[in-house]
Symmetry: C2
C-alpha cells in the first residue's frame, strides 16, 4: 500500500511535467447546494483528465529494457490519450487497446500523441492480454497498479495544500484508480476528512465489490459517464477503498446528465459527465454537502461532435 512518502515522491517526479490544476469556486453552485464547494479543475490537466498523473508516474519508473520494448494499455477512453501523452513525454512507444464503441475524439487524441491504437470488439481485457503477450509489451493497467495509484494520490496532496480547511472530498469512481490514490493521500494526511466515491448505477462495480468483499466483474458497464464505465474493480484498489473511503454511492443516468448541464451552465467549465458525478449525487440527495466540500472535476473529454447538433 502506498505511503505518504511514496505519494510525495511521485508528486515531485510529476512536477513541471504536468499541470498543477487550480481549485475554483462558484457562488451559484454554493447557493444551489447549500455548501462551500471547491472544484478541483482537473479537466485542465494535460490530455483533459487526471489519468496522466498515475500513468506518467508508472512510465517514469520503468526499467530501461521495458522502456525500449514499449508499453500497452486498455481503456474506455480517457486513459488512452493519457497513456499516449505520458509515453511521448517519457519517450516510450505506446499501444492502446480500445473498444470500437469508444468516443472518436478519444481515439483521435491517442493517435495524435503518437500511440498505436487497436480498436477491438468483445472482451477488451482478453484481447489486451493477447496483444501484450504477442508483442512482448509491458502492460500498464489504467488503474489496478500501485504506481498508478500512487501517482493519482498527488491530486489529494494538491487539494489539501490549497484547501487545508476541507471537510469532505467527493470523487468520481470507475474502476477505483483515482479514488484509491486520492483517499490514501487525504486520509494519511488528515483522517477526519470524509472521502466519498460516486459511481453510476449502471456501472457500479466498486459498490458491488465492497458489498461482496472482493473485486467483482460486471458482464457489461455502459453509462453516459463513459469515463466511469469500468467493468472491473481493481484488486489493488479495493483494499485501499475499504480502508480509506467512507462511502461509495450510486447515481442515475438522469442525474449525471442534469448535473453535467447544471455545472456547465453555472461555471462555464466543459466538464464530461464522469466529472459531474459528485454533483449528480448532491442533486439526488445521496450525498449531503456540508462545510467545505471538494468535488474532483476529473475530466473534460466530452464528445464535442454531439454538441449543438
Amino acid at each position: 500500500m502506498p505511503t505518504l512518502e511514496d505519494i510525495r515522491k511521485a508528486a515531485q517526479e510529476l512536477e513541471g511535467r504536468i499541470h498543477r490544476t487550480p481549485v475554483l469556486t462558484s457562488s451559484a453552485l454554493d447557493e444551489r447546494f447549500g455548501a462551500e464547494l471547491v472544484l478541483k479543475a482537473e479537466l485542465f490537466q494535460k490530455t483533459g483528465s487526471f489519468k496522466v498523473r498515475g500513468l506518467l508516474t508508472k512510465l517514469l519508473r520503468l526499467s530501461p529494457e521495458e522502456r525500449t520494448r514499449g508499453v500497452i494499455t486498455v481503456s474506455a477512453g480517457n486513459a488512452a490519450g493519457a497513456l499516449a501523452w505520458a509515453a511521448r513525454n517519457a519517450g516510450v512507444p505506446a499501444t492502446v487497446v480500445m473498444a470500437k464503441t469508444a468516443v472518436p475524439a478519444k481515439v483521435d487524441a491517442a493517435r495524435g500523441y503518437g500511440a498505436t491504437v487497436e480498436l477491438v470488439e468483445g472482451d477488451l481485457m482478453a484481447q489486451y492480454e493477447q496483444i501484450r503477450d504477442g508483442r512482448q509489451l509491458t502492460g500498464v493497467h489504467p488503474f489496478d497498479d500501485e504506481d498508478v495509484i500512487t501517482g493519482h494520490g498527488s491530486l489529494g496532496l494538491e487539494l489539501l495544500a490549497d484547501r487545508p480547511d476541507l471537510d469532505t472530498v467527493l470523487v468520481p469512481v470507475g474502476g477505483g484508480g483515482l479514488i484509491s490514490g486520492v483517499a490514501t493521500a487525504v486520509k494519511l494526511l488528515k483522517p477526519e476528512i470524509r472521502v466519498i466515491g460516486i459511481e453510476p448505477e449502471q456501472a457500479d462495480v466498486v459498490s458491488r465489490s465492497l458489498a461482496a468483499g472482493s473485486p467483482q466483474k460486471l458482464p457489461s458497464a455502459r453509462s453516459i459517464a463513459d469515463g466511469l464505465a469500468a467493468p472491473v474493480c481493481g484488486t489493488r484498489n479495493l483494499p485501499l477503498i475499504q480502508q480509506y473511503v467512507d462511502e461509495v454511492v450510486r447515481v442515475s443516468e438522469a442525474a449525471l446528465l442534469e448535473a453535467t448541464r447544471l455545472v456547465m451552465s453555472r461555471t462555464k467549465l466543459a466538464l464530461e459527465p464522469a466529472a459531474a458525478a459528485p454533483f449528480a449525487a448532491m442533486l439526488e440527495g445521496s450525498v449531503q454537502a456540508a462545510g467545505v466540500t471538494a468535488a474532483v472535476v476529473s475530466g473534460g473529454n466530452l464528445d464535442v461532435s454531439k454538441l449543438l447538433l
Copy 2:
C-alpha cells in the same frame, strides 16, 4: 465619442462589481493556428458574457428619477440576463423584451435575476418601444448607447494591461457594441494594434453598414451564434467602427460550429458559438493570425439542454 479618460472612469466604476476576467493560453490552439493566442476569458464574466460591462456602466449613470421608474431593454439573449443582473446590482427595476424564439436558459437567467420578461413575436424593436413608452421606462439599448460602449471599452483596457505585447485583437461582432468599445480603447492606447471584427455571414449587418456607409437593417438575422444575430447596426457604434476597426470579416455557420467544438475540446472552456467567431475566421482563412493575437471569448451562455442528447 468616448475618450480614453471616459473609458478609464467606467473601468473604475465597475471595479469590484464585476470580474476582471483572466487571459488564458492554449499550446494546442497555438499549434493549430500558428500564432501566439491569448484568450480573454470573458465567458467567466458575471452572467456569462461581456454585456454587464456596458449595461452596468449605463445603470450607474442614471438619474435618481430614472432609477426609480426602472429600465427596459430588448435582447437576442445575453443582454437579457446581463441587464437583469446589472439592474439588481444597481438596485433598479428592469423589464426585458425577448423574442419567443430566445434560448430558454437565457430567459430563465433574466427571470432568475428578478427582471420582468416580455416574450414577443415579430418586430422586436417596435414592441420594445411600445412597452417602454407605455410604462414610462428608461430604454437601455443593448449596444447603441455611448455609456454602454464606454463600459465595454473596459475590456480593451484589461487586455492591454495584461498583454501589452499584443499585435492583433479579434472581436465577435453582433450589432457593434463590444467591438466599438474595445476598438476605441485599444486604438487610443496603441494605434498600431490591428483590431478585426468577425460576424456571421447570416447576420452581417455591420459589414453591410460599412459597405453602405450608414447603419443598415436586416429583414432577419439568424445564426448558430445567437449572441451575434443582431438585425441592426448601432448608429453610435458605426462611426467608431469606421474609425477604429481595421476590418470586419464574415464567417459561415459551419465554421462557427467547427470552431466552437474545436476550442471547447482543446481548452475545456464551455464557450458559446458567438465567442468562437474569431477561431471560425482563422479556420476559414479570412483572418491570418500573426504574432500575439487576442481572441475575445465573449460569452458562455450555451443552450445546455442541447448537450449530450
